[in-house]
Subunit: 524 residues, 2 copies
């Protein structure tokens, strides 16, 4: 495991070092990781800009092979990767093995997308030389990469949203060099994966600088990366505070750039009366598991449950409280995250009208940074007059609000901010009786879900992981699924362009065999 910054193909020292901490023990892990300096930012971006001039035009098969080689390299690290990630994140082995599968799956998905090639959205409108009053020129359009992307590693996905995660995979697939700012909570995991990317780049003779990775245990390097004039796109998954700080920096640049920040959400779930009547026990257990999955550290954690009062409401509440009581505390990712969870959940409990509905009954044991699962309850009146209750408590926490009527339900929905997801648990007539509030969820969320929990974000073309502000900085884009590639591109039109100079995607003969719109007709 290298502990240096990776700038192109070179490993370089910094002026100081830091160590990772095992959140389960609170103890330092081996490895003195080198904190990068501003000059490293300059070097990495100078290389990235040069690499971009070549990489933006590289043939799609080489790009696909590069991505597949990264996936193979990540797998080849073997148990060492899982063990280091477990030590650095406190996440269990099964979860990290699954996350590794997701990571290599994402790389493979983007390799296939690039190989197939139609993602560039090629459009051709042939010339009309006889048009009156003036001839119409030949115009052709496709998506092109925008330039070097800065990817911030996420604490809650040490593999799938970090060094070779979805952001890196989609940026490289688009044709953008990547500079990763490694998350300081898992530098060893980051180093292992970065080396696999470096080797895959060299194996495919890609220009040096197509990938770099810098360490920092503070904010200076991240800031410098976002402010650097050669940076063209930024991706981030984390807190609202962190995300909005990056957005602000990017807006203040002489040339502003997009920051795709996934900043969290309370993922409201509406649980309707007929469903509760039919299966309150199953719903309570299903949601208790979703609220506490991965110590509640998922962006799509259901932080707000809303139900409409009915004869079985009491039974549901009791079942939910009992289900939460049965779930053991779990290690959170970092001491800081654990501290915030304890602070924010205590603050919510101290707000007017908030009562504990259920809490884990397990002993805390000897491990550090244990999050104790908790569900609280508040009335609609108290909820509506207190915006603080609509803010995310990152961790195994959820708030239950019982509406007296469909009108109150609509009032609660209308008070919500933008969300990654909004879910409905409904049976039979529920879908008819609550049709309007159910349909209105489309206006506040990026994904609406029926009778499924929001945790578990499928990596498929139809996925939308990104909702209206403040769930993400830009709800028009997704960070999961094939659509994630669109964050790194913009359209360019070629007018009357010489056939020899046209990119292959736009040549008459369609040498790549991709889907294109030609004179208004979809064809391949």
């Amino acid at each position: 495991m290298k502990t240096q910054n990776l700038i192109g193909n070179q490993y370089t020292d910094g002026s100081k070092t830091f160590r990772a901490i095992n959140p389960s023990t609170g103890k330092e892990l081996e490895g003195d990781f080198q904190v990068a300096g501003k000059e490293d930012v300059d070097k990495a971006l100078a290389l990235a800009e040069k690499a971009f001039a070549v990489y933006r035009n590289i043939d799609k098969d080489t790009k696909a092979t590069f991505l597949l080689d990264i996936a193979a390299g990540v797998n080849a690290i073997g148990d060492q990767l899982i063990e280091r990630a477990m030590a650095e994140s406190g996440l269990p082995m099964g979860r990290l093995q699954g996350e590794r599968g997701r990571t290599t799956g994402q790389l493979t998905m983007f390799a296939n997308l690039v190989k197939e090639g139609s993602w560039v959205e090629a459009v051709i409108d042939n010339a009309q030389p006889d048009r009156q009053p003036a001839p119409r020129p030949d115009i052709r359009k496709l998506l092109v990469p925008m330039g070097p992307a800065v990817v911030f590693g996420a604490s809650n996905f040490p593999l799938a949203f970090s060094v070779a995660g979805g952001d890196t995979a989609s940026a490289l697939a688009a044709g953008c060099p990547v500079i990763v700012k490694a998350h300081p909570a898992h530098p060893g995991t980051s180093a292992l994966v970065a080396e696999a990317i470096k080797e895959a780049a060299q194996k495919n003779n890609l220009p040096e600088g197509v990938f770099s990775m810098l360490f920092d245990d503070g904010y200076a390097i991240g800031e410098a990366l976002v402010k650097h004039p050669k940076t063209k796109i930024v991706t981030f998954t984390g807190s609202f505070r962190g995300g909005t700080a990056l957005v602000k920096l990017a807006q203040q640049r002489q040339v502003p750039i997009p920051v795709f920040a996934e900043m969290g959400s309370i993922n409201p779930t509406i649980i309707l009366p007929e469903a509760i009547e039919n299966r309150y026990q199953q719903i309570a257990e299903h949601y208790a598991a979703s609220i506490t999955l991965g110590a509640g550290q998922f962006c799509t954690n259901p932080g707000l449950l809303i139900t409409v009062d009915s004869q079985s409401t009491g039974k549901f509440k009791e079942a939910l409280g009992t289900a939460i009581a049965k779930i053991a505390p779990a290690t959170m990712l970092t001491a800081g995250i654990h501290h915030n969870f304890e602070k924010l959940s205590a603050e919510v409990l101290s707000e007017q009208g908030v009562e504990v509905l259920g809490k884990s009954a397990s002993e805390n044991g000897t491990k550090s940074n244990q999050a104790v699962p908790l569900v609280a309850e508040v009335s609609v009146v108290d909820f509506l007059k207190n915006p603080k209750l609509s803010e995310e408590v990152f961790g195994p926490f959820s708030l239950l609000v019982v509406a007296a009527s469909v009108v109150e339900l609509e009032q609660v929905i209308a008070a919500l901010q933008g969300q990654l997801t909004a879910s409905v648990v409904a049976d039979g007539e529920d879908l008819i009786n609550y049709k309007d509030p159910i349909n209105s969820l489309v206006t506040i969320a990026g994904r609406v879900i029926l009778n499924n929990v929001p945790t578990g974000v499928e990596v498929v073309p139809s996925m939308q992981h990104g909702g209206p502000y403040p769930a993400t900085s830009d709800g028009r884009f997704t960070s999961v699924g094939t659509g994630a590639i669109k964050r790194f591109v913009r359209p360019v039109a070629f007018q009357n362009w010489a056939p020899d100079l046209l990119p292959p995607e736009l040549k008459d003969a369609n040498p790549l065999g991709i889907w294109r719109s030609v004179d208004g007709v979809f064809t391949k």
Copy 2:
């Protein structure tokens, strides 16, 4: 011609009035236009939000008919519209008749796009109940409208980028209600068109508030519209100063919103030696005409010509100077625009090394606000050390830079900011000898053009009218062509959603017969 603000179906007075001015005469035109107040902004947006709840789900045929009825209504105004627009803009009849054709053509294009229906980019990934370790749910995605859009009328397109222009047409096509802030230079033209939209909305029984239009002769109403919490998208075509001011306002909101500002460009054109040798006379005349078209008041006006020194450079310069001298001055849109043109072109001429190459030799005559066509020249050295020379001079002005070599040509290109367009004039070996600089244009512009002038933006699906900052606030989007609809939408995924609740675009049977990606396969 109504002179009041149109709020939904109601015309309302303001507390003060203003008049339009004929720029050719400097005299006031008839009509006391009512300046809207903040309460009108609130009323228009309250109606728009209510209308959105209905209009976002309206069937596509009604939406298409609405757009076609607007086009018919605009045509039905007849000569009155052209005459008023001529008086308010100083633009000649032929140009405005053409612009009316473009306006109704855009409305028809979006009607056809909506009727066809595939623009929503429907993606369906069917469930995989047997997947291990967990079943995969059914997920389906499409684009949905984001909410009320504020459209700023543009001074330089009183029809095609004003009240029923491309922004309004694409917003309404997407399913977003529109509130137009009428441009104060052409309030009468705006009023005539607004009435046609109101009538089309009523004829189709659309919810009141799907369209409103407010007048202001200052900035207060525009600001209030951008800051209003119910506004979800803003479009603007105008100056860098105006565009960036709106962007800043939108970023400072509690919930930031996108502003699509088309802010201008110097549209560099590279004229290469073999082309000059073959046809310097024709190139000079062609470009002189492009530089002065519409008094140079097009966003795509070629404001910077770059050539590489060769034996015919002198002949080209002489021909260009002569061609410009032959073109008569023309009326600019407003006294303010004319004043800025005179001021900025004089400032450029006073910069170090800048010399006049050619100037209109015509008499100014008796008309007001006449722009005198002008081409100046500067050396590469002086150009590179003076960023002011890369700024737009809105009007019939262009600057010629003669590079001594391909290296100097590349230096000039590298110094350029983001552009709407970049053009190349080349013959034979030029395309081989200058391949690298030609290809590099893709990284700075939204549209690259070979042997065509940049003025004349075709309204086709392949058009990209939007380039990297500062040409537009967001070069990932276009304001011309079918792609313009994407400015008003975001994706929403439906997971395990009830078939009855799915929008028709996502139902299994594909009742609308649109193109969709189903389990990774494009199908209809």
